[in-house]
Amino acid sequence: PPEQEMAKPPAPLTDKFTESMYVLANEPSVALYRLQEHVRRSLPELAQHKSDMQSWEEQSQGAIYTVEYACSAIKNMTDSSVYFKSIDSLLKHAIAMKDQLNAAQGRSTVAPQAKNPPASS
């Protein structure tokens, strides 16, 4: 029947057009929504991790400075060994002198006055 045949084409045309309009408008929108949803959900975690890393880095820097300070202290200590060496030798000298003094003083108890003033001076 011609009337039916004439009525048939326009309807499928509009249906197809509306379907393509749906697809045209919906697919990119849904895709972009999913994208921004993912970003929205994962950004706070990323920010948290970033702040964690920054705090750890601060701590590490502090520890580094501490270790650096300690290392320099030890280096100074090792540098001071020279002085300790001289101190040690001087002490030994002093002890030796004191021993001599004591020995001289003991010997000079028979006639100490003559030797004591020169020993004490």
């Binding site: 309009m21 929108s29 972009l32 970033k50 002890i95 004591n102």
Partner: protein, 362 residues
């Protein structure tokens, strides 16, 4: 029924031309035995089956000679159902030779739907005759078919009909059906619009060519239907009628079915279609702008994400560097610690020595 549908679907060209032709074509079918054409057009498959060969002959109706011959055929077609098959066959045969002669001449020109209508009306009757596979003039049939077949490849393989291709359709019908007046009568009497059983391959274009002129200009296809009003009338007639029962009763029923076409309605349709197109344009533009905004926003969002990820990577990098630096310092400290115990021992010794000295001095 497909005829009207096809006519309504395609863009008309030169409606004035077709309108001119319609009246003059409509009058002959006052004896409207051309129901068979309407039935033939009813479906594309049927039209495809219709034998593209018939569609090959150009509509030579423009010539006055062929026109008169066509009118003669019209008159002949009327009494076809009657037992004047012999006479019709004779007349058809007489008319047929004339058609081939103008055929080559006309094929070269782009035959408009104008004069073709007159011939087409007559051709339709003759077209069905081969479908009737009648035993009458088999030689005439073969001749018509050969001409139609010859016309077909010459016409340029029906796929992309040129301007002149459209005019081939009905002429071939008349050629093919030429000498088969008896067969046509038999078919008409049988009232079946069956396409010729030869089963010639016919594309949609060829099928359309049967119903009018098909023009292809690049991507735009134009179609001018012939006998538009008559087809409308025919389609409006009740479908239960057997196609091609008889010229008289069919004509009477069809003629009174619909009123004249209203040009105002057509103008309205054109204007409204233009409005629809404009609105569709606006719709597409709005969708485009919306999508652009959405994508811009999403681009900003994703760039923010990218910046965050990059900064996170940088922070991780720095922290790892700090870790490695700490490890290096610790290792250095550990190496520096080695002489310390020896030094401590020496200090202890010195302290003992000092205490001895203090003891000595006391």
């Amino acid at each position: 029924g497909g005829a009207v549908g096809a006519a309504a679907r395609r863009t008309w060209r030169g409606s004035e031309g077709s309108s001119q032709q319609r009246p003059c074509v409509v009058t002959p079918p006052g004896h409207a035995p051309f129901r068979p054409p309407a039935n033939r057009r009813a479906g594309t498959p049927r039209a495809a089956r219709l034998s593209g060969g018939h569609s090959q002959s150009p509509r030579a109706g423009r010539r006055s000679g062929p026109a008169s011959a066509n009118r003669k055929r019209h008159k002949q077609s009327r009494p076809r159902p009657l037992p004047q098959a012999a006479q019709s066959a004779r007349t058809q045969t007489r008319g047929a030779p004339q058609s081939p002669s103008p055929e080559p001449a006309v094929r070269g020109e782009g035959a408009g739907p104008a004069a073709a209508l007159a011939s087409s009306a007559g051709q339709w009757r003759g077209k069905r005759t081969p479908g009737g596979h009648a035993p009458e003039g088999p030689g005439a049939n073969r001749r018509r078919h050969k001409q139609a077949a010859a016309a077909r490849p010459r016409g340029g393989g029906g796929a992309l009909p040129a301007r002149h291709a459209g005019s081939r359709s009905l002429e071939a019908l008349s050629l093919a059906a030429g000498g088969t007046g008896a067969a046509a009568a038999a078919a008409a009497a049988a009232g079946r619009p069956q396409p010729p059983p030869e089963g010639r391959r016919a594309t949609l274009a060829s099928a359309l060519e049967l119903e009018g002129t098909v023009l292809r200009e690049g991507r735009l296809t134009q179609f001018v239907a012939n006998n538009l009003e008559r087809r409308i009338r025919l389609s409006g007639a009740p479908r239960g009628e057997q196609p091609g029962p008889g010229p008289g009763p069919g004509a009477g029923a069809g003629a009174s079915s619909i009123p004249a076409i209203d040009p105002g309605a057509l103008q309205d349709v054109v204007a409204l279609a233009g409005q629809v197109a404009a609105q569709v344009d606006e719709l597409l533009r709005a969708v485009h702008c919306g999508l652009q905004a959405l994508t811009a926003l999403s681009v900003g969002c994703i760039q923010t994400y990218r910046d965050g990820v990059e900064s996170l990577g940088e922070a991780a990098d720095l922290s790892i560097r700090a870790m490695y630096a700490l490890v290096a310092r610790c290792e250095e400290l550990d190496r520096a610690m080695q002489p310390v115990p020896a030094l401590a021992k020496r200090i202890r010794d010195m302290k003992g020595t000092l205490e001895r000295l203090e003891g000595l001095c006391k």
